[in-house]
Point group: C2
Chain length 83, copies 2
């Protein structure tokens, strides 16, 4: 299953709790789109959020965000994960 | 220990093997800087690389890349990781 990393920008200083609440909404609706949001990374100083997901397509990953809260990423990348 | 996500741009279509080779050089020198590069994600179509590391500072994370291969990121973010 492909993995995707999407990048959002929120106002710098947005509380982590607000980001977590939006993420919880992603988790609540993701199954309807065949997607699993795996992790996210947030930098409150710059307002950058990076969300890692696994799913059938980038459109499916975006559909989760659209249905969950409407906060759409600036970019989404289909990525290979390595260590 | 803080975590950092840095973002590189290489020419689209750069082979994953070339990215992996650069990453191996990071792993070879990271201990000298007290850093652990944990994972990376690569999108060959756009040439974007996202590297996740753990270390004492963003300067230390950047010093690893500088010593390893000199391929410096466009941006580096101090991030909180959540699920």
């Amino acid at each position: 299953m492909p993995r995707f990393l999407d990048v959002h920008t929120v106002p710098p200083g947005t509380p982590p709790e607000a980001v977590a609440a939006a993420h919880q909404r992603d988790l609540a609706v993701q199954a309807r789109h065949g997607v699993r949001y795996l992790k996210y990374w947030y930098d409150a100083a710059t307002g950058k959020i990076f969300c890692l997901s696994e799913g059938p397509s980038r459109e499916a990953a975006l559909a989760v965000h659209r249905e969950a809260h409407g906060l759409m990423p600036d970019d989404i990348f289909e990525v290979e994960e390595s260590e």
